[in-house]
Amino acid sequence: MTGQAALTPHGATPGAAPAPRIAAPTDWRGEAMRRRIARRYAAERRFRLMGLAAVLLSAGFLAFLLVTMVGNGARGFTRTQIALPIDFQRSAILIDPALLTGGNAEQALAGANLPAVIDKAAETAFGENGARMISPAAQTAVRKAIIADPAILTGTATITVPASEGIDVAAKGQGSAANEAAVARLQQAGALSTGLNLRFLTASDGTDPTLVGIWGALKGSLLTMAVTLALSFPVGVFAALYLEEYAPRNRWTDLIEVSINNLAAVPSIIFGLLGLAIFLNLMHLPRSAPLVGGMTLALMTMPVIVIAGRNAIKAVPPSIRDAALGIGASPVQVVFHHVLPLALPGILTGTIIGMARALGETAPLLMIGMRAFVASPPHGVMDPASVLPVQIFLWSDEVGHGFIEKTSAAIIVLLAFLLTMNSIAIYLRNKFEKKW
């Protein structure tokens, strides 16, 4: 503050002669100068072209990824269907029609010998290999048809049922010769059609590719992300606020800062080991549960939020803090009325990055047992569940042809989830963004 501003008066050196010109006047129009200008323009052009090339290259990669995924994955959302005539009168179906009118129709039909009835009908209609053309999912379709109209049990009905994996793949152009021939026969009979595979969006993992769905993994991801967000966002924001606004600057806070920065760079599988050691072995939480997955991913996401949060809080102009303190706002009021609202867009940006990374994370979740085969969607955070990236990993490992398109379809669902999550965050960020 006390600069040694000496008492030097203005307008010193009276009477000093003007300095003599040493160099000749600059030749602004000369050849050398023109070349210099040309070089400068060339450098500008080069720089612009390089930037443009970088942008185009990344756009190209992205477009390639999207086209491949959508090309392969779109088929995962459709299925091949067969119109199967079933003569209920002649098939020995074991069911009491009186039960079908009550609320327990599903249960009653589940006890009936529908699979055998379907197999028999398929063999009658399409020859001795008929049963192998029908997916195990057919009984759901038949059950629905019976419940919708129990009267069909007294006669013959044609029900559209999903085809088996072999027929489905062959109809989409990649099957074996035998299946190709079967498809040709079915096509001639006019029994083949293509429909929307709603089952893929409502079912969970299974052994047959015509049976599997993504809903279980999607719900698992939703629950896991909810746990991650609920833990990492408040903890991260409060840690950032404390470190920026309250913590004294000393060796300990430096140490904490370095630790947090390093934590953000730790490979994710190590967080998985940490989760395994602490949440499963020490705290005995259930294996494979979204709660444990969410807690493990929260450990990983928190440092990202702390770092982004601290930067955002630092970027709030000090004049706003002064203004609030100057009219008698307490430190807590300064933080919650002024600093936090202004820092929120930046904090949300960090949260987007952290959550996006957590959503796509597989390795730490494998460590805590989330690679289990889970055939029903979780009902809560304590139920065993799968998550989207792990489900993709598991399906990509399957040998069946039918699983290839399911893998791509699951990737599309994962990307759609990611885009939705980010859109919400970006919407919120823009809503809170203010100018000062």
Partner: protein, 259 residues
């Protein structure tokens, strides 16, 4: 050191104040009194400590780590650095207007209403509306903004923003208003409006203004203190300081020999 002349109605008084930033002494043994009738101007070259001293009067230096204040500063006879002084309440009683206009990025209404709201000064919406209108009127801004109270305060011009900040300070009914070079970021017309405003406010509030502009000090203040290198070189009635300074350094400064 200039002699201490007695001023009636003393609102704030500083005696033997030192301010240290770590090892560095920014202010050395400053004593001054601030009263209700007169506007006090603090003048001096850059880095002379006048802003630092101003910020000790409402303890804004508390937020600077390593800053230490010695000596005694009182408000109505109570030591503001004493154990039973609540710093938050002190800052409501001793308001501050900063060098750069710093409205909150909220609406004009919210800017003014914020102080009364956090201190519980308004009872109900109608009461708050009245406080906002009264404060903006006193800050000479009401007629310009009454139709757009809910537009952002940061969309106003620089001079209007500074008057908004003055209105915001007035809204909590302070006893003292500290102004830290309030016109340094403003054009001459906006400056003239702020100066008019200071003359209007005189008598209702004890006002201390730090300024680089000696004409401004001469126009708005009745009491002037000249700081140099962290020391209070000379203080007295403004007319006396500007026409007949006792100290050579004061004379050199106000005649523009250095600054």
């Amino acid at each position: 050191m200039a002699d201490m002349q007695h001023i009636p109605n003393v609102k704030m008084s500083a005696q033997g104040v030192n301010v240290l930033y770590g090892e560095k002494q920014a202010i050395r043994d400053v004593s001054i009194e601030v009263d209700l009738e007169n506007v006090t101007a603090l003048i001096g070259p850059s880095g002379c400590g006048k802003s630092t001293f101003l910020r000790t009067l409402n303890r804004m230096n508390d937020t600077v780590s390593g800053a230490r204040v010695e000596g005694r500063i009182t408000l109505d006879g109570d030591d503001i650095y004493g154990a039973d002084m609540d710093v938050v309440q002190l800052r409501a009683r001793v308001g501050m207007v900063f060098q750069k206009p710093n409205p909150f990025p909220k609406s004009i209404y919210e800017n003014v209403a914020y102080g009364p709201r956090i201190h519980g000064l308004a009872h109900g919406k109608a009461d708050l509306d009245e406080i906002v209108e009264k404060s903006l009127r006193r800050a000479g801004l009401w007629d310009e903004v009454k139709d757009r109270l809910h537009e952002s305060g940061t969309a106003l011009s620089g001079g209007q923003q500074q008057r908004l900040c003055i209105g915001r300070a007035i809204a909590v009914e302070p006893e003292v208003i500290l102004m830290d070079e309030p016109c340094s970021a403003l054009d001459p017309i906006a400056t003239a409006r702020i100066e008019e405003l200071i003359l209007d406010l005189r008598g209702n509030y004890a006002i201390v203004i730090v300024t680089h502009n000696m004409q401004q000090a001469a126009r708005v203040s009745q009491h002037t203190a000249f700081f140099h290198l962290g020391r209070l070189v000379e203080q007295g009635p403004t007319t006396e300081i500007f026409t007949n300074p006792r100290e050579e350094r004061t004379k050199d400064y106000i005649t523009g020999r250095y600054g």
